[in-house]
Subunit: 425 residues, 4 copies
C-alpha cells in the first residue's frame, strides 16, 4: 500500500534548518520527480497497473497538491489555488479536507493533461520559491517561522517518499508488458542511473550476537523524522542473533528447488491460501525461460544474478523461507538495535533492500497523534501491516536512518523488499 507515504506527512518533527539549505533541498527534490519521468511518454505516466499503485502523473500532481494544501494555503494569506477541482482529484485520502476521487480509477484521469500538471507544478514552485526566499530575511522572528519550516520539510519528505513509489509503480506497470520495456537503457560508458545497479552482492552470512537488555528504541535527536518513529522508549530484548547478510537469489532458488512453494508446513495459513489461489510459485519479477531464470528490472529482462540479494518478496514468502531455514524474521526492535550497534560484520543494512520484520505495524508506547488537521488520522493504517526497515536502493538517501519504519501488507511484493534472518540465542 502506498498509503504510508501519506501517513508520514502527518507525523514529523522539524529540526532547525538553514533557509538556504531548505531552498536547495526543495529545488533538488522537485527536479528529481521530473527527472524520473524524463524518458517516459505521456502514456507511460498515465497508466495504473493496480489499485495500490498510482499513475506517475498522479504522483506529480498529488505531491504539488500537498505543498498547496499544507504549506501555501495555510501560510500565504491571499494564495490563489491553481485549480479548485484539484482538491478532489489529487487528495489521496484526507477525509477532513474533503471527498477523494476513487483510488482505483486514477488511471482514468487523462485530464488534466501532462502539460497542465507541469503548469501546476510550476505554479506551486514559483510560490514556494518566493516563500522560501522570504524565510531568509534575518529580521524575522525565528520562532514564528518554525511551523512553516516544519510543514515545508514535511512536504519535501512526502515528495521524496513518492519518488520511491514512482519507481516501484512504473516497474510494476512495465512488468505487465510482454515486450519488457526499460526505464533505463544500459550505457556502459556512463555511471548508471538505474538504482538497481547499486545493489551489493550477498556473500556467506555470519551470525552476529546481541545481548539481552533494556534498549532505547525510536528517534532520538533533533533531525527530521516522522511521528511514528517516536516517542523514544525503552524496550526489553532477550539476546538474539542476526544474519550479517541479506538472503541471495541463489539461496532462494534452493528453497524453490526444494519444493518450498508446495509445502504447506512452511506457510502461514493465509499465505498458503494466497499462493494457491493466485498460483504463486516464484518471486514477482522472476521468469523462467527454457529452465533458466531471468529477472525483470528497470533495465528490462536480464539473466538472474545468483549472488544479488533477493528482492520483491512478500512477508509471506520471507516468513516461509525463514521457516525452511529453521530461523525467523527479526522484530523491528531487534533490527533497530542491530542497526544502531554499527557492528562492522553487519552488511547491506541500509539503502539496499527493505527488510521485512516480524512486527505488526502499531503505535509506539505513548504515541500521541498530532493536533490539528495534519495529525487527525494518526494510526489510520496501523492494522494488518508489517514493518520493514533499512531503506532500499530506490529510497532517497536522506530518508535512511535506524528509526525509519516502512510498512506494507503481508502479501505486497512490488516494493524493493528482501530478507535478513534472525535467531534466538
Amino acid at each position: 500500500m502506498a498509503q504510508h507515504t501519506e501517513d508520514s506527512i502527518k507525523r514529523s518533527v522539524a529540526p532547525a534548518i538553514d533557509p538556504n539549505i531548505l531552498l536547495n533541498l526543495y529545488t533538488h527534490t522537485r527536479n528529481y520527480s521530473l527527472q524520473l519521468c524524463q524518458s517516459l511518454s505521456e502514456a507511460d505516466i498515465q497508466a495504473q497497473s493496480m489499485s495500490d499503485a498510482s499513475p506517475l502523473k498522479w504522483h506529480l500532481a498529488h505531491t504539488s497538491w500537498a505543498f498547496e494544501t499544507f504549506v501555501l494555503k495555510p501560510f500565504i494569506a491571499d494564495y490563489q489555488e491553481f485549480d479548485t477541482d484539484y482538491d478532489y482529484l489529487f487528495n489521496s485520502y484526507y477525509n477532513a479536507i474533503g471527498k477523494q476521487y476513487p483510488r482505483a480509477q486514477r488511471g482514468l484521469l487523462t485530464r488534466p493533461s501532462y502539460h497542465q500538471v507541469l503548469d501546476y507544478r510550476l505554479h506551486v514552485d514559483q510560490r514556494m520559491q518566493s516563500l522560501l526566499n522570504q524565510l531568509k530575511d534575518d529580521s524575522l522572528n525565528k520562532a514564528s517561522l518554525k511551523p512553516c519550516i516544519e510543514r515545508i520539510l514535511l512536504a519535501v519528505n512526502h515528495e521524496q517518499q513518492h519518488q520511491e513509489l514512482m519507481l516501484t509503480d512504473i516497474k510494476h506497470l512495465f512488468s505487465f508488458n510482454p515486450i519488457n520495456p526499460k526505464l533505463y537503457v544500459d550505457n556502459n560508458n556512463e555511471v548508471s542511473a538505474n538504482c538497481e545497479d547499486k545493489l551489493i552482492d550477498s556473500q556467506q552470512a555470519a551470525s552476529v550476537c546481541f545481548q539481552e537488555g533494556l534498549y532505547c528504541i525510536g528517534h532520538r535527536d533533533e533531525a527530521f523524522h516522522f511521528d511514528n518513529e517516536g516517542p523514544q522508549h525503552q524496550y526489553y530484548l532477550a539476546s538474539f542473533k542476526l544474519d550479517s547478510m541479506l538472503v541471495s537469489n541463489a539461496d532462494y532458488s534452493e528453497f524453490i528447488d526444494d519444493g518450498g512453494y508446495q509445502n504447506p508446513l512452511l506457510w502461514l495459513s493465509e499465505a498458503w491460501q494466497k499462493i494457491n489461489s493466485e498460483q504463486i510459485q516464484k518471486p514477482l519479477y522472476w521468469q523462467k525461460h527454457q529452465s533458466t531464470w531471468f529477472e525483470f528490472g528497470l533495465s528490462g529482462l536480464k539473466p538472474l544474478k545468483p549472488n544479488a540479494p533477493l528482492k520483491h518478496i512478500s512477508f509471506f514468502e520471507a516468513n516461509a523461507y525463514a521457516n525452511w531455514k529453521g530461523k525467523r524474521l527479526p522484530t523491528e526492535q531487534e533490527w533497530e538495535v542491530a542497526a544502531r550497534s554499527q557492528k562492522p560484520e553487519l552488511k547491506q543494512m541500509f539503502n539496499q533492500l527493505w527488510q521485512w520484520t516480524s512486527s505488526s505495524y502499531s503505535p509506539y508506547p505513548g504515541f500521541k497523534p498530532a493536533h490539528g488537521a495534519i495529525g487527525e488520522y494518526n494510526g489510520k493504517f496501523m492494522l494488518n501491516q508489517y514493518v520493514l526497515r533499512g531503506g532500499s536502493v530506490a529510497t532517497p538517501s536522506g530518508h535512511i536512518r535506524p528509526s525509519y519504519r516502512n510498512f506494507f501488507y503481508a502479501d505486497a511484493r512490488w516494493q524493493y523488499s528482501g530478507i535478513r534472518l534472525a535467531e534466538d540465542n
Copy 2:
C-alpha cells in the same frame, strides 16, 4: 461487448467493386480513424475505462493488425511483418491465430508507443496501397482477385465498426472524469464535427400497422454484408404495430418520475437484481444537479434536451419502459419488415440510435459458418446477447442497411442505443 466488431470480419460476402473505388474507400477509412484521435492526447488514447472498452491506441493498432493478418500475409508472398510481437498484443480473440493479451489489461500496454503505432499504420498503409494499385492492372484475371478484394472489404468494414467503438469508448472514459472533458469543442461558426448533433428530435409517435404474412428476412442483394445477415429466409409474422418515433428524454423522465426504477413489477428478474446491486436510477450519462437533469456528451455536460431521443439505455431499461407503457419491444424481424416497407410515417429508423429488439442474437435458419480460418468461430457470440437495429449517429453511413444486426448484452449502456416500441395488432 465490442466483440461483435470482430465477429463481423469473419462473415461477409464481397460484391464486385471497382479497384479505384476500393482504394478511395481504404484511404478514407484509414484517415478517419486518425482524425478521430486528432484532438486527443497520448494519455487519452491510452486509458481503458472497462474491460468491454479498449484504448483508442489499441483500436488503431488492432485494425492495422487485421489488414496485416487477413490481407497482407495471405496475399503478399514475401510480406514482412512490422513486428512479430504484435500478433500477441493486437489479436483480439482469434484462438486459431494464437494466444491473446488479456483484454482487461489493454490499457497497460503503454508500449508500443503512439508514435510506433502510427509507424505501424504507415507500414501497413504503404503495402496496402501498393497492393490496391496492383489490383487496377487490367491484365489481371478478375475472378482470381475476388478473394483478395473480399478480404480488403472485410477489413475496411471491420475498421469502420471500430470507429464507432472509438467514439463510444472515449465517451465512456471521459464520463469517469469529474471535469467533464470534451471530445468536440462547440464552434458555432462551423459545421459540427460532433455526430451527436445529428440526432433529430422526437415528436408525438403514431402507431404504424403491418399485415401478417410470410416475409423475406435477411440480406438480399450483392452489396457488401456480414454473414450473420443471411442467409435470406422466410419468416412468418402476425400483424403488428410499430411506433413512428423513438422514445424521447421527456418520455423517459415520466417513467422515472412515476417510480419506474423502484417498481419490481416492470423489470425482468435479472434486471431487477442488476439495477439494485449497482444502484441504477437513471440513464448512464444523465446527471442531476439541483433538481435539473444534465447529460454528458461528446461536447461535455449540457442541459438535457427533452425532445431529443433517449440514448445510452440498456435492454433492461428498454424492456421496463415498454412494460410501463403497456407495449413491447419489436422483434428483429418486425423491425426489418418495417424498415423495408419504407412507409413515410416511420421516422428516425436509420442512423439515429440503435434500437433494441426483443430478439436474442442467434443464427438465421440455414446459417453455415464460412470455411477456413476466418470463419472458424461463427456463432461464438450467439448467446445471451440481444439484437439492435438501425445504426446510430456514430455508425459509419456505409453500414446502414435494413439487414444489419448489431448485438450486445442486455445490461450494456455505453453504445448509442434507444427505444422504439411495438404492439400486437
Copy 3:
C-alpha cells in the same frame, strides 16, 4: 434455476375437470412430496447445496404456501393462516405479495422445524380437502367454480414441478458428500423406485427428415397447460433433420477423448471462459477412478453405462458437442413439430431427458400476461435462458406434452438434461 416452477403457476388454462378426479389428483400429489422425503433425515432436507437449489423442507413448505396464498386465502372467506410469518419465509419471489427471505439463505432456516412444516402441510390439506369436497356439490353453478378449480389445478401442477426439483436438488446436495449417499438403496427383488432406472439405452441414431412449411406451434386443446405454451401460432420452418436417438455416454466419451474440452473452436465465447475458470472437463456427475469412469446417481456411485443417454449436461456442453459432430441443436419449434409428428423412428422423445434446444426462452407472438396478481410478472424470466423440451424421468408424467417448455441458464447442469442433434436438410 428453479424459478420456472414459480413462473408456471401464473400462466395456465384450466380445463373442465371432475371434482372427484381433482381430489384424487390433489391427494396423490401431496402424498408424493412426502414420499420423496421418506428415506431422508431432517439434516438431509435442511441443507442447501447452492443458491439455485432449495432445501427439501423449503420445497415442502413453499408448495403448501402456494395453496394457502393462491387458493385458500382467495376462495375461503374466513381462512386463518397457519402462521403469518410464513408469507415472508416461504414466498419464493412474488414481489406483489411482499418481501422474500433471501434465496441463498434458505438452508439457514432450521426453524420452523420439519415437524412444524408437516403440521403446516396437514393444516393446508384439511382445508383443501374440505374445499374440494364442497366442489362436488351438484347444486353449485359450474361456471362459478371455474376460477377456483383453475387455481387448484395450477397449484397442483406447481407442486409437481417442485417434485422434480426435489430430486435434482437432493442429488446435487449428495454429490458434495465424498461418501456418496444414496437416496434409493438397490433392491433386486422389487420394482425400483429410482426414476433413473427408467432411462432407455440409446442405439445408433438415424436422421429423420421433416419438410418445410408453416406449422402450428403451441398448446392446442383444452387440457391443462401453462400460459407460456401459448398462444398457438403459425411458424414457418425450412426443412430439417432430427436424430432419432439421444446422445449416449459412449458418444460423449469420444468427444472428451478427442480433446473436446481443450478445443476453443468448439465452444461459445462465454462457455470457453466458464469451463476454464471453473476447470470443467467432464459432465457434472462423472468421476474418474483409476482411468475408469463412474457416475454419481440417486443410488450412489456406479460404473458409467456406455449406452445410457448422456445426462446432466449444460447448454454450453451440448452446443460444443454438436459443433464437434458438425451438427447443431434443434430449435424448440423443430422439436415440437417432430414430437407432434409421432414418427415411429423417433425414440426417447418424452420422459427420458430434457433436451436442450437452441431457442432462447422468449414469449410466443401474441403472448399476453394474465390479469391480476398471479399474472403480474409474466416474462420475468424470459431472458438469457434456453428452452428444453420433452421432460425427464424425474418429471411427473402428467406434465409430459409436446408444448411443454422448460428453461434454464446455459451453464445449468443439475437438471436431467441431455442432447438430441439436428441438421439442416
Copy 4:
C-alpha cells in the same frame, strides 16, 4: 476465526494430574458437548451460517476425531478407527495428517447422520474410558504416562474450546432466522442455563493506575496452558491506566447517537471501508424496532439492557469507540499485568467478555514450536489477528487464567467480545 481452537491443541504443557480427576474431567467435558445440543433438532445442528462457523454436528464429530487422532491411534497399539472416511471429513486443517473437506461446505455433510456421529462419540468414549482406567494402575511408571496424559489433557481442552464455539455458532445461525429462535427458554423458577444471564452490569468506570517496570509476562506455573501462553518472558511497560469496568450498551449508544459510525476520523482505514461496504451501523445483534433497541440473544429477542456490558463487537468498532472517548485499547501485556495485580477496583476482568487488546497476535520471544506432528504448524495463524483476553461467559471456567490468549480477525463480531479502555499515564 475458529481456527484458534485447533491451534491450541498443538501447544500445551501438561501438569501432573490424578488419573481419577482426569477421568472425571473427560466425562464431564464430553457430556457437556451433548448437553449443548439437547434442545436442538437435527436441522439446527446441521446448518452452517458462514465459513468461519461450523455446524454443531461437525463440532461433535471433530472433537471426537481429535481424541482418536491424537490419543487413541498413537497410544493404543491395535486401535481400530471407527470409520476411515472421517479422517478426511473431520480433520479441520492438519495438512500433515492429510487433505481436508472444504471448510465452507461442512454444512453440506448431512451424512454421517447425527445418529452415526453419536455412535462415533460412544465408540471413542468407550476406548478412552478404558484407557483412562488403565492409567490408574499404580504399578505403572508415572514418567512413561506423561506423554499420554498430556495429550488427553490437550484434547479435553480442545473440546472445551469448541464448546464456546458451539454457543457462538448456533447463536450466529439463529440470528439469520427472522423468527428469532431460542436456544434457552426462559424459566423463572430455575437457575438459568443461559450463560448470557451471568453477565454483570457495568457501572461508572474508574481509572486504575499501573507503574512502569519490567514485568514478567506469560504462563508461570505447572498447570495446564497452551504453548502460545509462553515462554514466560520479561516485558518493559511504561506506566498506564486501565478502566475498572467494561463499556456498557448505554455508553456505546452515545457513540452511535453522536454519529460514530458516520465519522471517518474515528476509524482505521480498513475499518472504514468495511463498515461502508457492508453498511454496518450497529453492533451485530442489535435491532431497532420503532426507535427502540432490542438485542438478539440465546433466549431470543429482548429489549436492550442499557447497563449490560456491550458485546459482539469487532476490533474495528472497539478501536473507533476508544478514539471517540480519547482513550485507547490496552496492549495484551498491560491487560495481563493488570489481571495479575488483583486490584479490587478492577471488575469484570474474567469470564464476562473477551476484551480486545491492541496487540497483534504474534509469538512470544523465544517461542519454539513443539516437535513432531502436533506442533508442526505453530504460528500458522499468527498473522493479521488481534489478541483478546479474559474469557467470556461462554468460556469453560477451567480456561480462565491471566495468560490465556484468544485471537480473531479485526472484523470478527460473532464471539462474546467487549471493550475495556486504557490510557497513557
